[in-house]
Amino acid sequence: MPQLLEVTEYDVIILGTGFIESILAGALARIGKSVLHLDANNFYGGNWSSLNFKELLEWTRSIQGVDESSANENSQERIEGKKALMTNFTKIRQQAYSTIEYEFYPIHEQVDDVPAILLKESKRYNLDLAPKMVPCRGELIELLISSGVGRYLEFKAMDKTYIYSADTFDKVPCSKEDVFTNQSISLIEKRKLMRFLTFALDYTNSPDTYKDYEEKSFTTLLIEKFKIDGKLLLAVLYTITLIRTDANEINTIQGLEKTQSYLKSLGRYGNAAFLVGLYGCGNEIAQGFCRICAVYGGIYMLDHSVKHLLIDENSNKFTGLVDVNDQQISSTFLVSSIDYLPPIFLKEDEHWETTSRAIVIIDKFIHEESGDASLTVYPPETVKNKYPVTVLQFSAGTQTCPEDRYVLYLSTKANGQSAKEDLINALDKLINLSVNKDEDIVSDTKPNPLFALFYRHKKRVVSSSEIPENIIIASDPDSSLDFEEATIQARQYFEKMCPGEEFLPAGPDPDDEDEFIV
């Protein structure tokens, strides 16, 4: 006998425990709204989640699998005078992913052992489906601090960046300290770079410097005004400004904004612009906000799916839903991840922002002294790539994998036929992919792979006039390396739902001994 909910009326029902949904859950509960938070998965984080190895394989199979229940996907029933739209979580979720394929690689020529080995150490992996970092100064970090959620989380600094060009990897000087200690660039280049970085940090105060370039590309500003060229130019564009598309599409102001937000992040937590979460980034942060929600009375049910959404035909408003136990639950608002939406709201769109991703488990670090977390960037056309390819390397120190294992997260804007095609050349420069083909050329220094998963990840956009206005749709993860846009979006949704209310104010802090605030 399934356990039924005692309370069946809520201010807000939230479907999915992804990043945006979880922030909203915390924010809404914090100001006294009653919240019911459901997830069809048995883990937190939805498409933003971090999975152990076994979960990752199950997830992969589920994405690859054929859904048998596809018979009646646009079926429409009526329940108590309301339009009941059927949901199809598994199938809709599949829509967000494509060209998924994985491979195990032999260690000591024994390929059979590898899955067993990885499954044995499965629980020591926390593999992010949409790996992201937290800029040391920005929307998310301020929210983590002001809301107190940061207390539940642990981070490490990501302070090493490498760039690939001319068949070598160079450490990129990103901060003043890096520029000072870097030995691969000349004194003059150090000066040019510092001149630009100093300007960009505070560019709005010297408009004369970039005034003539506002209509031109950011690259033109760097070349003409700051005389930055060659390797250094690539380093600025793709590792400091962190451009993830074609640099020519970025104009001066966009470039300066991106550069500035990077530079502002430096120096707050040591010599790093980004923090990476321990135990995986996505679901740890999401869970932190869920914890706030729970503290303020929110109710949680994982592994709990939804059958129907109920819509009042006259007002075209969402009124409630029917869950897996056929229990009817009503609420004023629905916050939902796209995966829970009835299929009729969704139309496949080829313009959806699509990212090719790979998760690769290897046996050695890719760069010496690269620390617990590092970023490697391939500028366009360096490995037959149209767009920059980024590689995040995490070590056991980030609690992402066991000792003596390293995890690589590759990503790039989708371009070719498959995720693997987009990323394999970049991967090939870092590790011994061709281990079987020719024993002689296997380099001892390069790491060997154990497992690689390739997939495309779409950021779906839903815009149907039929969708009731009291349904708030939380976006999929975007292609960026941070949570900034998503955080802004969460705040905007909150302000739309609860105008005038404070967004995640600090809760009472048990450690707070400020005697002067009564």
């Binding site: 200690t181 003059i188 605030i517």
Partner: protein, 632 residues
């Protein structure tokens, strides 16, 4: 921690805060009173000890209480304490200090007390102290108290550790690590400057072995100032690496005035006289016999002042004629004007009176004889502490650094540190090398340009750069008065032997007008000048004139002079023009002529703010000034 805005608390919060504070203050004052009473009564008991703990936890800067605490501790351990008990006592004291440290990492008294404890306790653990101070510097790498304490700990460790070489090396690496984290760290660079000489010495590197090490330092600091040319700490270390060579004081010349039985001796810098220079004549058997007399400098009015200056007069006690006299000056007899200059060896001067024109005063090129001729020869060594160099190597190094800094200056034309470093490098180059007139002039020209830039860029230090520029302008202008003699000594070449010629145009003349001069750096060079024109400059004082003892006419129109001084001993002065200056009272003019020793003299004073016609007429002048004629 800088640049944070202060948030003004609301009135209510402020009131609550004050009330809370008032009760705390009352409580604290009570404890202090009780403690001081015990101190006055010399009660070194445990109760007093607890009181000091309470006070110092809150206010570690109360040094009287620390003193009292030490008295209590000493009192306790003197009463037949075992070594272990003593050790125990001080260990807990160190723990207490560690706790106080946390809240006050920058209190002199805490460090003082800690050092006292360690010096007093039976078995101090220096290794753990080193760990402690490392931790402190991890928390704040720029806490100079921490660095200072570190040096103390290291000095103790090096006494007990035979492997001191390793210590210098690890300490040196420690500063490298701190500098790599953030090179804007005066303390770390300073520590490095203390360690480098030790490292060089410990590793017993030959001169060839030292060079890569020192070059590496130059590379490191270059990387720092190319990364951030506005960061002063790196530049200061660069300046230290370059070093300042001691500049040699030289004697410009001397002559014998047979009419007045005087020897006149000119240095190129001001010196103080500790022991009178020796004057002697040669008797028939060529032996030197001392000539009695007394020395005084021409500048200054009081007797103290007269033992300090650049032009010196020796008056013979006996009025007898000598054809030649010998003057000996030894380094230990003089006090240089500052630590960067010194007289390097004994100098003997030979002043000869020519056969003819015995009644006429004639300035002669002095015959300078240096006892030790190696002063500036090839054996010279520079930067003995880190990298001994020959002059040739030194010049190459300076030129290399000038090129590097100039390259940076081209990208950063507004960087004041860049320009100032160039000034330092150019000055070093000029003073150490045997430059020909052309090279020396080029350096001066460059210095003049750089000073001009710095005057515009660094407004807070305008005057300083104006003075530096004046020096360069003056040195260029007097270049033709100086010639390098065969024995490498600089001498005035007295081209004019016509001091008493009647025609003005033929008298020794020096003209330097409209060049923004603020100072006359070495007036002794103008010793023989009779006609001086320094009009249209920015001179603020006339005191330098006291060195120009043959001066007849001085034109100082349009300067920034506010009073007249240094002229009362100029016996030949006939015309002094101070028109259009900043003199504001008659007093400021008159005081300059007190004890006037010369003859008739015209003083042009119009164009100063104190001048109006009625004042001039009604003022009565003292009798001794009846030779002074004021003109408008």
């Amino acid at each position: 921690m800088h640049g944070r805005k202060r948030v003004k608390p609301t009135a209510e919060v402020e009131k609550l805060r004050k009330e809370k504070e008032a009760s705390k203050i009352k409580e604290y004052n009570g404890i202090v009173a009780a403690c001081l009473e015990k101190k006055n009564k010399c009660e070194f008991d445990n109760e007093a000890f607890i009181l000091t703990t309470k006070i110092l936890s809150q206010n570690p800067d109360f040094y009287t209480i620390w003193n009292f605490r030490r008295s209590i501790l000493l009192n306790e351990i003197s009463e037949d304490c075992s070594e272990e008990e003593k050790q125990q006592k001080f260990s807990s004291e160190l723990l207490f200090l560690q706790e106080v440290f946390r809240h006050n990492p920058k209190s002199y008294w805490i460090f003082n007390h800690r050092q006292w404890c360690l010096d007093t306790m039976p078995n101090p653990d220096w290794k753990s102290e080193l760990d402690l101070v490392s931790k402190m510097l991890d928390m704040d790498a720029r806490n100079f108290h921490g660095w200072n304490y570190r040096r103390y700990v290291i000095s103790k460790l090096s006494c007990i550790d035979s492997n001191a070489l390793n210590l210098s090396k690890t300490e040196f690496d420690f500063t490298t690590a701190k500098i790599n984290q953030n090179f804007s760290n005066y303390s770390a660079w300073h520590q490095r400057s203390k360690l480098l000489p030790k490292l060089v010495e410990d590793e017993q590197l030959g001169d060839q072995g030292k060079k890569p090490l020192i070059d590496q330092e130059f590379e490191l600091v270059k990387s720092a100032f190319y990364t951030d040319p506005d960061d002063q700490s790196a530049w200061l270390y660069h300046w230290w690496l370059i070093g300042r060579e001691i500049r040699h004081i030289s004697i410009l010349g001397a002559y014998y005035d047979s009419q007045n039985y005087q020897i006149i001796l000119a240095f190129d810098d001001e010196i103080g006289m500790l022991t009178p220079f020796q004057v002697a004549y040669k008797n028939d058997t060529s032996q030197l016999n001392i000539v009695e007399g007394h020395w005084r400098s021409v500048s200054g009015s009081s007797d103290v002042d007269r033992m300090h200056g650049s032009v010196w007069i020796f008056t013979l006690n006996i009025e007898s004629g000598f054809n030649e006299l010998f003057v000996t000056v030894k380094p230990e007899w003089i006090v240089p004007s500052n630590s960067e200059v010194k007289l390097v060896s004994n100098i003997q001067m030979h002043c000869q009176l020519p056969e003819q024109n015995k009644d006429t005063l004639i300035l002669m090129p002095p015959q300078t004889v240096a006892e030790n001729t190696t002063i500036l020869s090839t054996a010279s060594r520079f930067r003995e502490d880190i990298l001994p160099m020959t002059m040739h190597e030194r010049i190459n190094l300076l030129k290399r650094e000038i090129a590097t800094v100039k390259e940076l200056q081209e990208i950063e034309p507004e960087s004041k540190w860049c320009l100032q470093t160039l000034l330092i490098l150019l000055r070093e180059l000029k003073y150490i090398s045997e430059l020909n007139t052309e090279e020396s002039k080029n350096i001066d020209e460059e210095v003049i340009t750089i000073c001009g830039q710095l005057i515009n860029i660094d407004k807070m230090r305008t005057k300083r750069f104006e003075d530096l520029r004046s020096r360069a302008i003056f040195e260029t202008a007097t270049n033709n008065l100086i010639q390098v003699s065969p024995n490498a000594q600089q001498e005035i070449i007295f081209r004019d032997n016509r001091l008493f010629m009647s025609e003005k145009s033929q008298l020794p003349t020096f003209t330097l007008t409209n060049r923004n001069l603020t100072i006359i750096p070495t007036p002794s060079i103008l010793l023989h000048i009779r006609i001086l024109d320094l009009s249209y400059n920015k001179l603020t004082s006339t005191i330098f004139l006291s060195n120009l003892i043959h001066l007849q006419e001085a034109d100082l129109r349009d300067n920034c002079i506010s009073s007249i001084n240094g002229v009362n001993n100029l016996r030949f002065l006939r015309v002094l023009n101070v028109q259009s200056n900043l003199i504001e009272s008659w007093e400021a003019v008159r005081n300059g002529f007190v004890k006037w020793q010369g003859g008739e003299c015209k003083v042009y004073v119009s164009g100063n703010s104190f001048i109006n016609e009625s004042d001039g007429k009604k003022l009565k002048w003292e009798k001794e000034m009846d030779k002074i004629e004021f003109c408008y």
